[in-house]
Symmetry: C2
Subunit: 350 residues, 2 copies
């Protein structure tokens, strides 16, 4: 399949295109490339789709975002479960491939297992099996499987101008743990470990209703940029950004005098669902009850392809492509990345 | 679930027990721990089981067994597909999480993709999606999903004394590439790269017939030892070992004057299926046609729990536990491991 030029403007999409060029696609795969957070395959009978996804947690450990094995286990489970949530699937369970550091293997195994178990209890699912390896650099890969009815599955594609944009909860929650590690912040500014929850109940409540859905695991701006490119639409955020911020991200932004956009533009996201509803469609009542809080209205979809506009006294536009390509542009140099990202955010603010 | 003491005698089983103690088990999971090469979960309706498995190829790259990215891609696909073969499942597809080396990412991506694609074409399946990371140490994790009817699924458990033991093909094929890397052998002794094939057609032909089945990915002796412990049986190999050896393994053994047992006892296996049939049961005709060659009769099951006996003029016994625990015992010291393994093999021979 040919990627369109808008998707190819993003370094990560070009990386994916490299795989797509070389690999044949299963003819009956329900989703096209990029079109869903999980891969969707018809099960025997054809009415149900199997949702499958895989993710590796490694870089976040190396960078010190996740400081203990229990956090690593929790995050490894949630990152895959969140992909199931974003397609509206009910989990069947997780597979885990863990690479333990040789010199502390027993402690790592116990901690990762505790984190996996706690995450599975929180999400109502199970680790089904897995594989253990040993290496210098610890990592945990999870694959998740779930089931969703074909006529209710959520895709990233299908939304249109005029519709409303929501999030299942406050955003930017992944920012503080990243900032703590990269800027060596004092513990008091970012207390505790990161324990986001995959929005499985919300995804199931939205199944068959949302016109598009994607999780915010790469941060709000990257997610909106990808949705905009896939759907040929733009977004106007009408709710002030500070009101969208997760409490920890808001506290940190206020303490350091940061533009709220920074926490939403940096790429270490959280596991909320961003979704769109037709303007005439009411939010389903069950979503608030089942997901532990009312979704936030972020704004609306506009016809300008790829545009992310922040409403306010003086509307400003966010350059999604620049922000998403920045890490690639600076060759992975993180101090320079942070500096440049702050500059881009200021430009958008100015 | 409690592991029995026989399983706990093996270091790898104790490692797995560490996970099992900490993780709740899905109540309707079809297989108990250790009981199948893939995890088995009832699909909606209940007649079909979803087979899921995950494996990481990393150590074989670090050790130089797989010398090029294409081999890594092929092996990563086959290692997971072989687990589906061993439960009799039909693959739905693969997920791939690849960690590419930063300094040669493009070449690695292209090579791994070629290997994955070639393996999928050979096996009649597809890569469904995946995830890309970057790190100092390359690795490829695959998860595979397949489907098998509940009443036809193959387990590792269920075989009994008096039954016959078969393999879908010649064994020891993983040995030469390991020996080449560890002993720095001249290229002429071990030509080419490793391209074993998962025995999917054979597994499907055996589904509902074999009383137990397990793939030989950890080598013949480790596989027999695990089957013996799980079933409380022993094995007597009546076919001379040299007749069981894969051509490359036989050639290398003859060139270096090695006991044929060495290639079957070392842990870098291949992807044949070891399976058991009731003595009165004929081999299904389709298995030869579909799997590309007649299975080999290895021997028979005996009542002595855990025993692996080699028949011949003077019967000898292989110490499966010693062999399987050896790498752990020597603390991963590979030169010492090789030396000790050769000594254990000689003891069994003497």
């Amino acid at each position: 399949m040919q990627l369109n030029s808008s998707l190819e403007a993003i370094a990560e999409n070009r990386l994916i295109a490299g795989w797509l060029r070389a690999l044949s696609r299963r003819p009956d795969q329900h989703n096209r490339p990029h079109e869903a957070d999980a891969e969707l395959i018809p099960l025997p009978g054809g009415e149900q789709l199997l949702a499958l996804t895989v993710d590796t947690v490694a870089e976040e450990i190396a960078l010190g975002f996740y400081r203990d094995p229990e956090t690593v286990g929790w995050m490894a489970a949630m990152v895959s479960l969140s992909d199931l949530a974003a397609v509206g699937a009910t989990p069947l369970g997780l597979l885990v491939s863990a690479t333990l550091p040789q010199e502390a293997a027993a402690g790592w195994q116990a901690g990762v297992a505790r984190g996996l178990e706690a995450a599975c209890r929180a999400a109502g699912t199970y680790v089904l099996g897995g594989d253990t390896n040993f290496g210098a650099q610890p990592s945990v890969t999870t694959a998740a499987a779930g089931v969703v009815a074909r006529e209710r599955v959520l895709l990233r594609t299908g939304c249109r101008p005029g519709e409303r944009l929501y999030a299942t909860g406050r955003l930017g929650g992944g920012g503080p743990v990243a900032a703590r590690a990269l800027w060596s912040l004092p513990e008091a500014l970012v207390a505790g470990e990161f324990r986001p929850r995959a929005r499985l109940a919300a995804g199931q409540a939205l199944a068959g209703l949302a016109t598009a859905c994607m999780d915010s695991s790469d941060g709000l701006i990257a997610t909106l940029d990808q949705l905009a490119r896939l759907n040929g639409v733009g977004f106007e955020l009408t709710t002030p950004l500070a009101e969208l911020l997760d409490p920890a991200a808001l506290r940190l932004s206020e303490a350091l005098g940061l533009d709220p956009l920074l926490m939403l533009a940096q790429p270490h996201g959280e596991f909320e669902l961003l979704f769109t509803l037709e303007a005439a469609r009411e939010l389903p009542e069950e979503i608030s009850a089942r997901s532990g809080g009312a979704p936030l209205l972020l704004g609306r979809l506009v016809p300008e392809p790829g545009v992310i506009r922040l409403a306010g006294e003086r509307p400003r536009v966010v350059d999604g492509a620049r922000i998403r390509n920045l890490l690639d542009e600076v060759g992975g140099d993180l101090p320079r990345y942070t500096e440049e990202l702050m500059r881009l955010v200021q430009e958008a603010a100015g």
